[in-house]
Symmetry: C2
Subunit: 303 residues, 2 copies
C-alpha cells in the first residue's frame, strides 16, 4: 500500500508491482486531517493511515505486504521521522515506528517530493538516467536529486532548489532574497501578474493562456520566471551535473511554453557545465503515491 500525505489532500492506493514499476489497483482520496497543533495533526495523520489501510485491506486479494507513507516538509528517511513541516506543524514525530506498531505492517517512510522523484526515475521521465533533478513547480519549487541512481536526501535538508538566490533581489517568505520560486513558481507567477496589473488570476495557467494570447504584461512576468528558473538550473548544472532536469507540478502542464524558452535561455547562460536535457514529468500528481509504493517494495526487498 502507498499513502501520500499532502498539505490538504491525502492519496492512498493499493498497489502491485516490482521495484521497477508499480500500478495502483485501488485508490482512495481523503482530506488531510488537522489537529489543534502539530503533534495532534501528526497523530491524526497516523490515524488516517491506519484507517485507509483498514479500508483497503479487504480489497487486497493476496493481503498487504507493506505500506509506504510519504509526507511533506523535512523528513529523515533513515530514522523514519517527520522532522519538521511548516504546513502541518509537526516536529520530530516518529511516524514510521508508530504506523508499524498500529498496522502490524512493514513500513517505509519518506519524503513526498523525493519519493515522486524516485518514481519518475524508475518508471517515468528520468527512467534510465543515473543523475537527474526532478523539480515539481507549484506553490513553491522543490527538488528531488537522483544521484548515481539513488535518491539523495541529505538527512532531509537537500533539494531546496526553489531557494537558490538567483539575484533578482525580491524578498522571499523564507527570509532570503532572490529565490528562484519567488518569480518562477506557479504561485509566484500568478502573484507577480496581479502585482503588475491589479488583475487577480486563479493561477499560473491563466497567465500562460494570456501569454499565448499575446498579453504583454503576462509575457514580461513569464520571461522573468523563465530567467529565474534558468539561472537556478545553471547552478544545479555546475554543482551536480545532472543529465536531465525533469519539470513537474502544475507549471509543467504549460509544456512547450515553458520548455522552449527555458532551453533557449539555458543555452545562453551555460558555458562549461554539462547542459542538462529538459524533460516534462510523466507521472503527474500520482508520482508521490507511486514513489511511496516503491519505497515499500524496496523495504521488503531489503535494499
Amino acid at each position: 500500500m502507498a499513502v501520500d500525505v499532502g498539505g490538504t489532500e491525502t492519496k492512498a492506493a493499493l498497489v502491485a508491482g516490482t521495484p521497477e514499476r508499480v500500478v495502483a489497483v485501488e485508490q482512495r482520496r481523503r482530506g488531510t486531517p488537522r489537529g489543534v497543533d502539530g503533534p495532534s495533526t501528526a497523530e491524526a495523520v497516523v490515524d488516517l493511515v491506519v484507517d485507509v489501510v483498514d479500508a483497503l485491506r479487504p480489497t487486497a486479494e493476496h493481503g498487504i505486504d507493506a505500506v509506504g507513507v510519504v509526507v511533506p516538509g523535512v523528513v529523515d528517511e533513515r530514522e523514519g521521522i517527520g522532522v519538521y513541516s511548516t504546513n502541518l506543524g509537526w516536529n520530530d514525530f516518529p511516524f514510521r515506528d508508530l504506523i508499524a506498531e498500529r498496522t502490524g505492517l512493514t513500513v517505509a517512510f519518506g519524503h513526498d517530493v523525493r519519493a515522486g522523484g524516485l518514481a519518475e526515475c524508475r518508471m517515468g521521465a528520468a527512467r534510465g538516467l543515473r543523475n537527474a533533478v526532478i523539480m515539481p513547480i507549484g506553490t513553491g519549487i522543490a527538488g528531488a536529486l537522483v544521484l548515481d541512481g539513488r535518491i539523495y536526501g541529505g538527512g532531509g535538508y537537500a533539494g531546496e532548489v526553489g531557494h537558490v538566490d538567483v539575484g533578482h533581489g525580491d524578498p522571499c517568505g523564507c527570509g532570503q532574497t532572490g529565490c528562484v520560486e519567488v518569480r518562477a513558481s506557479s504561485g509566484g507567477i500568478a502573484r507577480r501578474f496581479t502585482e503588475r496589473t491589479g488583475v487577480r488570476v486563479g493561477g499560473a495557467a491563466e497567465v500562460a493562456a494570456m501569454v499565448r494570447a499575446g498579453d504583454d504584461d503576462a509575457a514580461v512576468v513569464w520571461d522573468e520566471a523563465i530567467d529565474a528558473l534558468a539561472r537556478g538550473i545553471v547552478v544545479l548544472a555546475g554543482v551536480l551535473g545532472p543529465e536531465a532536469v525533469v519539470l513537474g507540478g502544475g507549471l509543467a502542464l504549460s509544456g512547450d511554453l515553458l520548455v522552449a524558452p527555458l532551453g533557449k535561455k539555458l543555452d545562453g547562460l551555460i558555458t562549461f557545465q554539462r547542459r542538462p536535457e529538459l524533460r516534462l514529468a510523466a507521472l503527474g500528481d500520482e508520482a508521490g503515491c507511486l514513489g511511496a509504493a516503491l519505497l515499500a517494495i524496496d523495504e521488503l526487498e531489503g535494499s
Copy 2:
C-alpha cells in the same frame, strides 16, 4: 601506489594501509611533463606514471598490488577516461586502460579533487560524516561532494562550486559573471588587491597578513571574499544540506581569519537551511595522493 598528477607537479607515493587509512611509505615528486599538444601530454603523463611505478617497485617489500592515478579537469571515473583538461589539454583520453596495459597492474583512475575529498572523508576533517562538501581554495575553487558517504562525481561534471553565481557581477574566465571564485579564490583575492591598490602581491597569504596588520584595502578585499564564499555555501546548504563544509587549499592556511568571519556571515545569511559546520582540511596537499591510494585499495576490494 598512488600518483597525483597536478598542473605543474606530480606526486607519487608507495602507500600501505586499509580502506580507512593509508600511509605514504616512500614518496617522489616530479614535474608534470608537457607534450606539444593535449594527446602528447596525456601520453607523456602515462610514461611518467610507468616510470615512477618502476622507480618505486624495488622499494615495495611485498610488491605492488595496484596503482591509483588521479588527474585534474573533467574525469569520468566509471570509464577511466580523462574527458577534458583546460590546463593539460587532453580530450577523452583512456588513461586507466593504457596505464593498466603498460604496468600490468590493477589501476584505479579518478579526479584529483574528488580523490582528495574521499581522503578527507575517510581519514581527515570530514571523517565520520555522511554528507560534506570539501572545497580546496587555490587558484580557483573546486568541490568534492561526499553524499551518503560516497564521493559523487556526476559523470565528471559535479562540484563546480567556484562557479556558482553569487551576484557580484564581476566577469569570470568561464564566461559567466558573479562566480564565487572571482572574489574568493586565493588567485582572485590577490588579483583584486592588486587591482584596487596597484600593489603586486605574491598571493592571498600576503593579503591575509595585511588584513592582520590592519590594512584597510586588504580588509575590504577580504570581506568581499568572505561574502562571496558565504553566499556560495548557502547555495550548497540549500541544494545538498551537508553537515560540514571543509575548507582546504592554500586559503585554508589563513585559518581563523577565514573561518571566524565566514561562520558569522553564514549565520546572517542562512534561514531555514541546515547550517553546515565549517572545518579546515586536515591532509593538506597530500589529500589527492592519499585519495588515489584509497581508490586503488577500493578497486582491489571490489567496492
